[in-house]
């Protein structure tokens, strides 16, 4: 079946109809990635999403980092990271940090669950389109992997001053960032919307 798609990079019309499971298409003119078809993509996204959500709960329940020097100790949780910036009079930075590392990733994962559960079973729901829209609009603003690099850089910066211990929450967050990245990368924009449209048409 002929299925045309306009390349996001150069607007070339490309037929992406006959992809088999596991095959992906890129634009022949500008090389931009177009789409990847996987027969089991929604089960995969669901697996990553559920693992990610469990790890996220863990990341919020234990201590994130602890820091001790000359007999004094300070322990922080994940939420205290933006919280402390707020207390020092920079609410704008605190809101940004909280949004990029906790709020947006959490919302995207919960929405992925709500989107992929019906898609995986092939059931149409009227909220599929608004949910997918919210996911694709906000996913670029999640910075979980950047935050992990930030933690590592911070550790090296203060390693000379004091003893720093990584808590369970840090490892859970590291696992969460991997699951989150995989979940978002596995959900293919084009295929997902085609599926929603198909299911909607079958319903009507």
């Amino acid at each position: 079946m002929n299925k045309e798609m306009a390349c996001h990079g150069c607007d070339l019309l490309v037929d992406v109809g006959g992809l088999k499971s596991g095959e992906s298409a890129s634009c022949p003119r500008c090389g931009h990635f177009l789409t990847k078809y996987r027969a089991d993509s929604y089960s995969r996204v669901l697996a990553y999403t559920m693992a990610g959500l469990i790890l996220l709960v863990m990341a919020n329940s234990y201590s994130f980092l602890s820091f001790s020097s000359s007999g004094l100790e300070s322990v922080i949780t994940l939420r205290q990271t933006p919280g402390a910036v707020w207390e020092y009079g920079m609410p704008e930075v605190a809101i940004m940090v909280a949004a990029f590392i906790i709020v947006i990733p959490t919302v995207v994962l919960v929405l992925l669950l709500a989107l992929c559960l019906p898609l995986e079973r092939g059931i149409y729901r009227p909220w599929l389109a608004p949910i997918a829209k919210a996911i694709f609009m906000s996913q670029n603003w999640a910075m979980v992997e950047v935050f992990i690099i930030g933690v590592i850089v911070s550790l090296v910066k203060i390693a000379a001053m004091a003893t720093v211990v990584l808590g369970i929450s840090f490892w859970a967050y590291a696992g969460f960032s991997i699951c989150f990245t995989l979940a978002v990368a596995t959900l293919d924009r084009y295929q997902c919307w085609e599926r929603i449209e198909e299911l909607g048409a079958a319903q009507a």
Binding site: L12, L72, V97, F100, I101, A160
Partner: protein, 209 residues
């Protein structure tokens, strides 16, 4: 056979759901997002955001990003000062990471975005394909500059030892976060398809399949 674009058939592609629909529609029939043949006022918007980012980048470098208070003595460190300090401590790899994400990436992003905007309506030494790759790289590295802001947030929360040792955020953290966000929006508002729209039909090696 020449390349057939969606625009040449008067079709607009939705940037949220990839749906192809008549360019006369203002909203995508599938997901309801605003739809245009090309992103509206792409060049002006991108340029305005790029100039904003340039302005924000000045205080981001002049003011301290982080203030260390040790036994009541406050000492501020700027982004570059932090890099120099790390080199003195011998943490060369981390100094390189900070230099890459906080200095090279923002400046490189601004320069490549200015170049892309400049060459949209002019002749460029780089082929459209090379410029598309340049745009994709710029778009991809965008959020990685936030590393320095996250480092400040973590250190401020963590280093809290009574009056002995404290770290406070400096005003540059705010302007630097502003630079990162504004350049990310600038990259998003630039329409990469413009690179190809104004291309002269000089390239004879057509790769349409």
């Amino acid at each position: 056979m020449t390349a057939e674009t969606a625009a040449s058939r008067n079709l607009a592609a939705c940037h949220i759901c990839c749906k192809l629909a008549s360019a006369e529609l203002h909203h995508c029939p599938r997901c309801g997002s605003a739809m245009h043949l090309r992103k509206s006022d792409s060049i002006q918007r991108t340029l305005a955001l790029l100039f904003t980012a340039c302005l924000l980048y000045i205080p981001a470098n002049l003011y301290p990003i982080m203030i260390t208070e040790q036994l009541g003595k406050a000492e501020g460190s700027t982004i570059l000062g932090g890099v120099v300090l790390l080199i003195h401590h011998g943490s060369i790899p981390i100094a390189l990471v900070i230099f890459l994400f906080s200095v090279m990436v923002p400046i490189g992003k601004l320069m490549s975005m200015f170049y892309l905007v400049w060459t949209v309506e002019r002749h460029s030494k780089l082929s459209p394909r090379q410029r598309t790759v340049m745009y994709q790289v710029t778009e991809f590295v965008g959020k990685w500059s936030m590393v320095d802001v996250f480092v400040v947030a973590i250190l401020v929360a963590l280093v809290h030892l009574g009056g002995l040792l404290e770290i406070k955020p400096g005003i540059a953290a705010l302007s630097f976060a502003g630079v990162v966000i504004v350049t990310m929006i600038a990259a998003e508002s630039f329409d990469a398809r413009l690179i190809w729209d104004n291309m002269e039909e000089e390239n004879s090696d057509d790769t349409t399949s």
